[in-house]
């Protein structure tokens, strides 16, 4: 008999499975659930994009592409980022197409982080940063962002986390699950801390199109001196409702992108070909479709925030992504208990804040990737549940 515990890589086997296993297992199998638990758009990919994918198949575009991705798409991404953030990236050697934003984060971390290097990760945040850092041999250093700071990372918190071993700061804004965004002045303060260091920022901007501030999304790459020390990660999943197409990208200094491309080349070859052709259409002709989805998200966001506050769960206004993150502290329950009991008694699925790090205790994540009718029904069930406490 093989003792697999001796066979397997400890870095892997010691990673905890994501979230709260027991709750997730119950929620996953339960039927007739009104869920607000999914972090994925409910909209179909706009038809023009799907059609472009189909056309590419009809034309026989079924081979590998170049490792970095098709030239036309890199050019479109370059002009898209320039249009949106006023930052230029050379399509020739500063842009890499990846299998979703997740792969971009993975190869960026692997290209920079070695054994014992420290990676600063603000939490509550998406669940991949910690395990990806560990797999690269790095050591995650967690900053627990605070509700009273609107879940933004502050310069003092950052300074306190930096050591001589710090290699990377993950900057996950707009943030899943908190909906927090970093505005220009917030980013400038972070930039001031980083400017005289060799720390590289991996800025996960996958939700950038879904920013509900008057100025829209600001990228840290726009702050003086930050472009040279930042890898900007984004993708097509959220803004264009293209989750299943698996297409993301990274933009950064060519010295970093070149190393990332090597890892990508050996591990993946290239991002999905059909998705790349479809994405060209997405960037060229779908601004209106994106704007329509955004205003629908915005109506749902307002509906949900007002709804939670009215039924007694304090909910700060999330300014980005498609989640609300109400506090459940007034109930006296832990996040896990709250979600478990709500699921049992009213069959509403939310995600406990603790799934996104210890700092999520006292909060739950509710996604608004659902129709308004669905949201209204879920809120009224949550209200019923609160009455029983």
């Amino acid at each position: 008999m093989i003792d697999y515990s001796r066979v397997l890589n400890k870095n892997v086997s010691e990673i905890k499975p994501s979230g709260i296993r027991k709750f997730f297992d119950i929620a996953a199998t339960m039927e007739d659930v009104i869920s607000l638990g999914v972090g994925e758009p409910d909209f179909q990919t706009p038809w023009a994009i799907r059609k472009a994918g189909i056309m590419s198949l009809e034309k026989g575009k079924t081979k590998y592409t170049s490792n970095r991705g098709i030239e036309k798409l890199r050019e479109e991404i370059s002009s898209y980022i320039d249009r949106k953030q006023n930052i230029e990236y050379d399509p020739e050697n500063e842009i890499l197409l990846t299998v979703g934003g997740s792969e971009a984060i993975d190869v960026a971390v692997r290209a920079i982080v070695g054994e014992g290097d420290e990676v600063i990760i603000p939490q509550p945040s998406y669940v991949c940063y910690e395990p990806i850092s560990v797999l690269a041999g790095g050591k995650p250093i967690i900053i627990e962002t605070k509700a009273e700071n609107d879940f933004k990372i502050t310069p003092d918190e950052l300074k306190a986390a930096i050591t001589s071993k710090t290699k990377v700061l993950i900057l996950p804004y707009p943030c899943n699950p908190t909906g927090a965004v970093m505005e220009q002045s917030d980013l400038e303060k972070i930039a001031d801390v980083l400017k005289n260091t060799d720390i590289i920022v991996i800025s996960d901007e996958i939700y950038s199109e879904l920013t509900f501030t008057p100025n829209g999304h600001i990228s840290i790459t726009q702050i003086d001196g930050m472009r040279e020390r930042t890898v900007l990660v984004s993708g097509f999943s959220k803004a264009f409702s293209m989750t299943g197409w698996r297409l993301g990208f990274a933009c950064g200094p060519h010295e970093i992108i070149a190393q990332m491309t090597k890892i990508h080349q050996f591990a993946i070859m290239c991002a999905p070909t059909t998705a790349q052709y479809a994405a060209v259409e997405a960037l060229k002709n779908c601004e209106e479709a994106v704007a329509d989805m955004k205003s629908e998200y915005n109506r749902r966001r307002r509906l949900m925030v007002a709804g939670f506050n009215r039924i007694g769960l304090t909910c700060r206004e999330p300014l980005g992504a498609f989640y609300t993150f109400p506090s459940i502290k007034s109930t006296g329950l832990s996040s896990d208990d709250f979600c478990e009991r709500l699921l049992e008694s009213e069959r509403v699925a939310l995600v406990p804040g603790t799934a996104f790090g210890k700092g999520g205790e006292g909060f739950v994540r509710a996604s608004y990737c659902y129709s308004t009718e669905h949201i209204i029904e879920a809120l009224s069930r949550i209200e019923e549940f609160l009455k029983t406490l």
């Binding site: 997730f24 929620a27 994925e40 205003s295 109506r299 509906l303 209204i376």
Partner: protein
Amino acid sequence: MKTELLKLLSNNARYSDRQLADMLGTDEQTIAEEIKSLQKQGVICGYKAVIDWDSVENQSVSAIIEIKVVPQAGLGFEEVAERISSFREVESVYLMSGGYDLNVVVRGKTLQEVAQFVARELATIDSVTSTATHFVMRRYKELDVKLFEGEKDNRGNILL
């Protein structure tokens, strides 16, 4: 806000003023006043449920009637269109471009009833020169609402 409010109501006329106010980032009173004013101006003309009559026991039939009309001097199509609109059996009346003039949707209890209505009441109008009746066999979508069971949300309950 007016256009956004109208869009929301055209999707679902049963949103409460409070829900509308939440979605549009304003207060209930503003919404109530705006709706009242839109009704007064005749922008909002009515509120109806979208019903799949095929799923109800006392079924009915409907037909689309293409009508050719000789327009009257000075009145054009107005008089005849208004006259046809006044029948209880008539659900909608549109003036069309192209091969015929008026598109009229008629609903009745039976095929015969609709056919008789067309023959007796519409075909006999002086300025009507011809009618062509097309019975609706099945409805798939009505006022933006799909009347068939679409694909279910298969995203699961939890996804981080």
